[in-house]
């Protein structure tokens, strides 16, 4: 299977991204809590990209692909042509520091790293590709 969604970099499109993932994966017997966590992680990655690499310019487009290379393995590819925003290069701030500094940001990267099994970056035809892999156990029945 392979699904694709093209989105303008406006935060109002995040809801559409969440719906696209849910619709694409509805027949995959992914436990509900796990599916919700996946939706959250992709929302975080896309909003990070929209804000930091595209300054929420709705004319800038990103592509989201969902691929199932093998049973129980899902790959989400986010393709764009902005500045690379490599979350592996960021050390997540400690929760204590975030609380102390009354900061609202910094949590998204932590969420993505806890939810996804792999986060990799590459490029193809001059575009950046961020690949997020998630292994999951199918629901019985």
């Amino acid at each position: 299977m392979s699904y694709q969604y093209n989105i303008g970099c406006s935060l109002s499109n995040l809801k559409g991204i969440r719906e696209f993932i849910r619709t694409s994966l509805k027949d995959y017997a992914i436990p509900e809590l796990e599916l919700s966590a996946i939706v959250l992680a992709i929302d975080e990655m896309c909003s990070n990209l929209m804000i930091h690499a595209h300054h929420c310019n709705p004319d800038h487009k990103i592509e989201l692909h969902i691929i199932e290379p093998s049973s129980g393995e899902l790959v989400f590819e986010i393709v764009d042509d902005g500045n690379v925003f490599d979350i592996n290069a960021f050390t997540e701030p400690k929760m204590d520091n975030l609380i102390h500094e009354k900061r609202k940001g910094g949590l998204g990267i932590r969420l993505v790293k806890s939810i996804m099994d792999k986060v990799e970056y590459g490029s193809k035809d001059g575009k950046n590709i961020c690949r997020l892999t998630k292994f999951y156990k199918k629901n019985n029945g």
Partner: protein
């Protein structure tokens, strides 16, 4: 989209969140809490029974008030979180840093006990 309704009774300000909070709507939550704090409420309940989704932008808003609440002796208790929303708090360990109850009655009791 999110809608936040405020209701005041017995010195408690209740914020009912209806809908989804993501990076596009977390500002609404921030403004509602700021309003409640600005009006001097020391007891705040957050009704999450109609909160369908929350991303880090919304979780970050709650987190950013933890210190201020401590300084100003404000107590905030949340209740009615569905399993998926509660899970998002748990992944970050935020569930241990905030007061979260199941029902409104429990939340009301806790906010009153904390404020003694």
């Amino acid at each position: 989209m999110v809608q936040i309704k405020r209701l005041q009774e017995d010195g408690i300000d209740t914020l009912a969140i209806i809908g989804e909070i993501d990076a596009s709507s977390s500002i609404e939550l921030d403004m509602s809490i700021a309003k409640s704090v600005g009006e001097g409420f020391k007891k705040i309940l957050v009704d999450c029974s109609s909160l369908e989704y929350i991303s880090s932008a919304g979780l970050g808003v709650f987190m950013s008030y933890i210190e201020e609440f401590k300084d100003k002796k404000i107590n905030m208790v949340m209740f009615g979180l569905n399993e998926k929303v509660a899970n998002n708090f748990s992944i970050l360990g935020l569930a241990d840093l905030l007061h979260i109850c199941t029902t409104k009655e429990e939340a009301k009791q806790l906010v009153n006990e904390l404020s003694v």
